[in-house]
């Protein structure tokens, strides 16, 4: 009985801290899994584009399909004249979020024991999603300044002047909602699976796990779509 409960002990917000001598610290398990995701993605891109051919073979075919997918996300939001400029950002966001969500869902991290916390999706940590959301808002500020210059500030009094405070608040709520949407979805999924595992450890959690894999890919799509929509809103 005890071992069953320990097998799927529910841990929220406990992390494996790594301390530097000067007192600063970070979450080691998040850093480990996200660097694994980044290196896997880089290796895939490197291998699949090593010798490009006119008639693509297996791996290059797959890479081209992925490229077309993210190109469509950026193209439908940003339009034909701007999408190329922001495609690298959107694609990076999409593949990192997708990779980290699936890394948490598909790899059996329970095999590895940590003294504190557990290895799971990097997006399970609110710092990762906050970083991605802040990157998005930095990017749309940059896009606005680069393309519109100082005329960017006209956006704040666009429909009329008395909407100025709401437009300023919107700049803060955009990254906040991006952040909580991704974090909450991933945590909710893992929590549901672990609660079900502690109740019925056999078969029953499997549909929820499949739903989680589907939902986390949708979340990656949402994050990329929304960040390109925010950029498009600024530069329109």
């Amino acid at each position: 009985m005890i071992s069953t409960i320990l097998l799927s002990k529910i841990e929220v917000g406990s992390h494996f801290y790594f301390f530097f001598p000067n007192g600063s610290h970070f979450h080691l398990e998040t850093l480990l899994v996200s660097s694994l995701v980044i290196s896997l993605l880089s290796i895939f891109v490197f291998i699949s584009t090593k010798n490009l051919q006119n008639v693509p073979t297996n791996l290059q075919n797959f890479a081209e399909v992925l490229y077309d997918f993210v190109k469509n996300i950026a193209f439908t939001q940003l339009g034909p004249s701007y999408y190329k400029q922001f495609l690298p950002f959107v694609a990076t966001i999409f593949f990192f979020v997708l990779g980290s969500n699936w890394a948490g869902a598909l790899i059996p991290w329970k095999i590895f024991e940590l003294p504190q916390g557990e290895l799971s999706a990097p997006t399970n940590d609110i710092n990762t999603t906050a970083c991605l959301a802040i990157l998005t808002s930095i990017t749309y500020f940059f896009a606005g300044f680069k393309i519109k210059g100082l005329g960017y500030f006209k956006r704040y009094i666009k429909p009329s002047v008395f909407l100025l405070p709401i437009n300023i608040i919107e700049d803060f709520t955009k990254p906040l909602s991006l952040n909580f949407r991704l974090f909450g979805n991933i945590v909710a999924d893992e929590l549901t699976v672990s609660v079900l595992c502690s109740l019925v450890p056999l078969i029953v959690p499997i549909p929820i796990m499949v739903l989680g894999i589907f939902a986390s890919s949708i979340q990656a799509l949402i994050f990329a779509t929304l960040s390109s929509a925010y950029i498009a809103e600024v530069i329109e």
Binding site: V12, G13, S177, F180, R181, F183, G184, N185, V187, A188, L191, I218, Q219, L221, I222, T225
Partner: protein, 83 residues
Amino acid sequence: MVDSLIAAASVIAAAVAVGFAGIGPGIGQGNAAGQAVEGIARQPEAEGKIRGTLLLSFAFMEALTIYGLVVALSLLFANPFVG
């Protein structure tokens, strides 16, 4: 005494947060799904496009429930009022 009161209030508040956050998106998702089915019935060849848009808007509505869930989780696991 005060701590146990805070704990009890937090548990009830977490339940209320998730429960009420579920109502609105539930109604909204039902409406959206109904309209999508209607659209598919009227125009079956547009099914792929409708499904994509439907899933995207589902995720937006779901986010509202998730906000409630985040509040509930922070009340349960990272309560700022205890200790």
